[in-house]
Symmetry: D2
Subunit: 375 residues, 4 copies
């Protein structure tokens, strides 16, 4: 497989290309490349990654699938009104938003769509191939940032949409990451395609806020031999994500990831539930409250509470750009298969990753060094 | 130097032996040794330390210096009334408390004390030597858990009390740890004695609550390339610690440690202050609120707040027992000098230690393995 | 109707007499009467109620119904172990607990119970009459403090248990209050009996924590013309109450009360949900987090969060004693019918009560004055 | 005294006319008058005040004193950048901002100012008289919204600046309110002038956030007979207010007001301190954390914590407009002297006001009715 192209340009193909995360990533990449903002939140712009041969931000070309048709520039204005993007940014990067907008193709299946799974995969694959050909891309990374799907039942006859897109990524020879709790590559029907694809792919369900915190706090309790008795959480969020997660099946998929880090750290999940409430008044801003009841020496009862107030899109977007660059470089370096080294980014990392953020970060630095060695 | 004794018993000598931490550690050690409670909070009772040759809990013999004369058993009753010790525990371990009480010697200098520094050091050394001789101890570890001293001025003519005790420890051939922000071994006048003593010693200022949290949260922000703009904190506590820290000079010494972990992690300390309020109504329970303002992608403003409600004595006591065991074993194994490997326990670790808890834990596990190899 | 008895003693009959609230109230009344504790939390022990002719605490005689048979003294010990009662209190008031224990009769319907509603009401009435007769009581107040029942469906053929007890109270000539969200007197089938009973009765669903807060905070926002956009809440609690409210139907009954105060204050309920989680590790202690998103001048977005950490039984018990005394005195004074003047105590007050705590308190003071005038 | 003017227009003269509060009030009044925003936060725009004869918003004419010379329009832009004003608002009300800007006169004493107190008062009085004359105003209300002054020492030879402005207000026949903790009318030297002025004046130190909360929570604890043991608070804020309050003397003046509401409610102030930290990163947004330790029944220990995240300028501005309208109307109606009926707005109300917000609101409604009767 030839991994280099004439241009050295790298495609970033978003599933959910008109959503908050993709819009923020597309606009932000342009703003940082233009020197309008520092690359806050982008781990791959920190010194340890300087010589790892990652594609530079100006070399990224954006496109994607989406089932909606709101223009990216308008979506960006809405995000600026909600405080997710700085005022003035959408107009400053209007050209780049329009360019990406022109590369967004209709997703599916749409309501009334009569195409079967194979037809949909073929159509999506053709979109990817066409995108790479027209831009003379060295390679393309596909990243799912669409709304969380309900968890599919065990008897589902068709693949969930996220898996159709994932199958198309493999067929088109693209590296793949799933930043959502949706099924993506984890569909059993894709096992054979994955095994034979020789492509790098990574994780599931990006770790941006409450779970990020849990991935440092849970190891702290464990290392200090403190006995966590109950870990409860509540999330309030609005925006599209809030509406999507108001569906109990989608929330269940999301919560499974939140609890996984606790179960992985402690061996067994402590008492406690996690709630996700759709609160439209919150817009794209999320508040997550965690309450951790733990025992100390001689059974003394203690409590830690955390309140996280953040903007999920702004937290996710730089990580998504990180993943695109790391997967593109891994692809170029001939690294394939699941990458537990990218567990730093995920609630549900690929097998073999630690659940502790500190160890995940160490693994990521080693990966950066490995890429450096192959540059 | 002969490090073994006929009995294999190890002395634990507390500076501040009648204080909350020492009383809790003494009572708790007895309770755990008797099987009354699991060893929650004791890191050295977790599997990685099983074969490191640490002295078993029943082999620890307690004594110490204090300037007060409230009997340990009565002190323990007061702690039980305040919820620090379980009701019933003081009477269950009455014999062990009385035995430790009989080994507490007057500290100094007391008000009106006419002894000079050398006379005080000599007296303290004699107390330590006598303790070891009478019990036939293999060795003794001295641990400072007394109230925080005001930071000494640059022109102080005499050593602070904590340094007199530390000098006595060296002179008596005892390993030493300073769990408080007081000067201890860090007095310039002790440099020569430290250099020639061939004894292991460790850190300053135990890390039990707010700083423990900071040592996992600050690396999280750093690793995620999020820009911390301000980190503010407020502590409410009563008990003896609250009263001691109501002295601004003592609070300043304490706060220096809290801010060190941020400065060490970020390179420079972010905006924000730390307050310590004496709130007698809180008793021995402490509440620490932290407010962290940080920037994400494209300058989006986000906030994390943490509320920690814990009992400082119950947090400190198991760590103090850990340190006694680790230092005793290091002493036995011929390891001497400062031990950055014990940075896990301190706000102000010995030189060379990382400020991130995860890395400190990894260093501690390596140290446990090293001790295992020498067993 | 003759309202005075030879002894001047007043009966307090608890539905749920072996539960946490009843046990705490019974033990606490004895402890305060004996001068062991100040009457913290008892509004009727404050100066404005001094001359209202309320029955003194030593004149209260306790009894009740319960479907469990754990002895009160043992229940009290369990509460003391969980920190609800002070250690030592159960033994100090053992005699009073045993006396109350002897006055607890089996509730119903029990599993397999073949009695119909009328038979159950008759049995409960006989228990009440017998209690009054044997003790020569001037009168008895019945207070429901049993676990929350699931809300009955519209087609239920039988009365819920709480209504059977309420019907018995009316038939036995007892004043009645319902401190739970269960149906009690609000069953349509009881309307005729209520109308003809000439007995005072009050409210539904005691207001002890999160709703208490809401009843002062919601008026604050309203009075300041601030626009509440969303009010979300999460409750963590263990104990029997946590287990009972893990039943979604019971939680729904409870939450209806919590939201009522907001709807009553604002005219319409703001966005936001309330969750109740059963967290056994919390024991009888409850943590309630509220998140209130509101708009200020020119649409500026602001947030208030509250965290309430309390013991529901200790919050409820003094209010239950208050209600018993106030209803007994109202009964003596010939006041009958619903008492909106006691809205201060309830999430769901009798018709005509304000939803604002300050106004409810003013109404309560007027009621105290009215009782004073009739003394 | 003739209180009516040919125009019916009312002057609003801000001391600190270029500060955040005055700028927000000036811009906001224009925006609401133009129908661009609803009057959220303005109590005088709610129904109970509809017929009280208050001057309508379009009839208000703004001017003031300030020692800075940043143009109002530019100040408004800065506030919009910081999220205090909506983006776009400064340009939408540019004409009104420029008109107010033209009416701002230099304050004093400036550094190097050689004028004595009498000369300064005369100059300020002339500014006020000139303002009224040129605009043909019916009357003018002077409101102090300048930065908090350090509390003057007992031996100060000169009046603090806030008192010079207050003296000028009296001399020019203007009603007066002091929205800051500075001395204002409370200087002993002004007593005679106040007694003879026949002007309405009100309170000290506006109640916008943490103290607003305290004025509903403290009565709640009192009414429920719960024993508050300690009430501690911490405030983080940036902006000009944060910088001014970094001066310990200014912070002391501010904190006195915060503690007054507790002392007034409980009879004696509970344990606990209040901190105000200057955190420039917070901009004009303030976070206030309160921790309230209280005892319930039988000494059970409970805790309430509140976290208030608001924009002080946006909270103050509508209240300042309220005060201007109420004082103007009182002046018109011939009401003079201190107005405890406006205690709703102040941390340090005029004598006779309750400390409970609910009672203050009731008094305010009565005042509105009284004004209605005189219309």
């Amino acid at each position: 497989m030839d991994r280099s192209g004439p241009s050295g340009r790298t495609g970033v193909w978003f599933i959910g290309a008109r959503g908050s995360v993709a819009t923020t990533a597309t606009a932000g990449c342009a703003a940082i490349a233009a020197g309008l903002h520092p690359p806050t939140g982008m781990v791959t712009e920190t010194p340890p990654f300087a010589d790892s041969g990652l594609p530079p931000l100006p070399a990224l070309v954006f496109g994607g699938h989406d089932t909606l048709d709101c223009p990216l520039a308008k979506r960006a204005e809405t995000l600026a009104d909600g405080g997710v993007l700085p005022p003035g940014l959408p107009s400053a990067v209007r050209a780049e938003l329009d360019a990406a907008d022109a590369e967004i193709r209709p997703g599916g299946p749409l309501p009334g769509d009569t195409r079967d799974d194979e037809q949909l995969i073929a159509a999506f694959t053709a979109d990817l191939t066409d995108f790479a050909r027209r831009h003379g891309l060295a390679r393309t990374v596909v990243i799912n940032v669409a709304s969380t799907e309900p968890a599919p039942g065990p008897d589902a006859l068709r693949l969930p949409a996220s898996s159709l897109y994932a199958a198309a990524a493999l067929r088109a020879g693209c590296a793949y990451a799933n930043f959502t709790p949706s099924t993506g590559l984890r569909a059993p029907a894709l096992a054979a395609a994955i095994a034979s694809c020789e492509l790098p792919h990574a994780g599931r369900d990006g770790k941006t806020g409450q779970t990020l915190l849990r991935s440092v706090l849970a190891p702290m309790f464990l290392q200090r031999a403190l006995a966590v008795r109950a870990w409860s959480g509540s999330n309030l969020l609005g925006g599209g994500d809030g509406a999507a997660l108001a569906d109990p099946a989608a929330a269940a998929a999301k919560n499974a990831g939140k609890e996984r880090v606790l179960a992985d750290t402690f061996g067994t999940a402590p008492e406690g539930e996690v709630h996700i409430d759709d609160v439209p008044a919150m817009g794209d801003w999320k508040t997550a409250w965690d309450h951790i009841a733990f025992d100390g020496f001689l059974g003394s009862r203690m409590i830690l509470q955390t309140i996280w107030q953040g903007c999920d899109s702004a937290l996710a977007a730089p990580l998504v750009l990180d993943l695109a660059r790391l997967l593109a470089r891994a692809h170029e370096a001939g690294i394939s298969g699941p990458l537990p080294e990218l567990g730093f980014y995920f609630k549900d990392p690929d097998g073999g990753a630690s659940a502790a953020l500190g160890e995940q970060y160490a693994a990521l630095l080693s990966f950066a060094e490995r890429l450096r060695g192959q540059a």
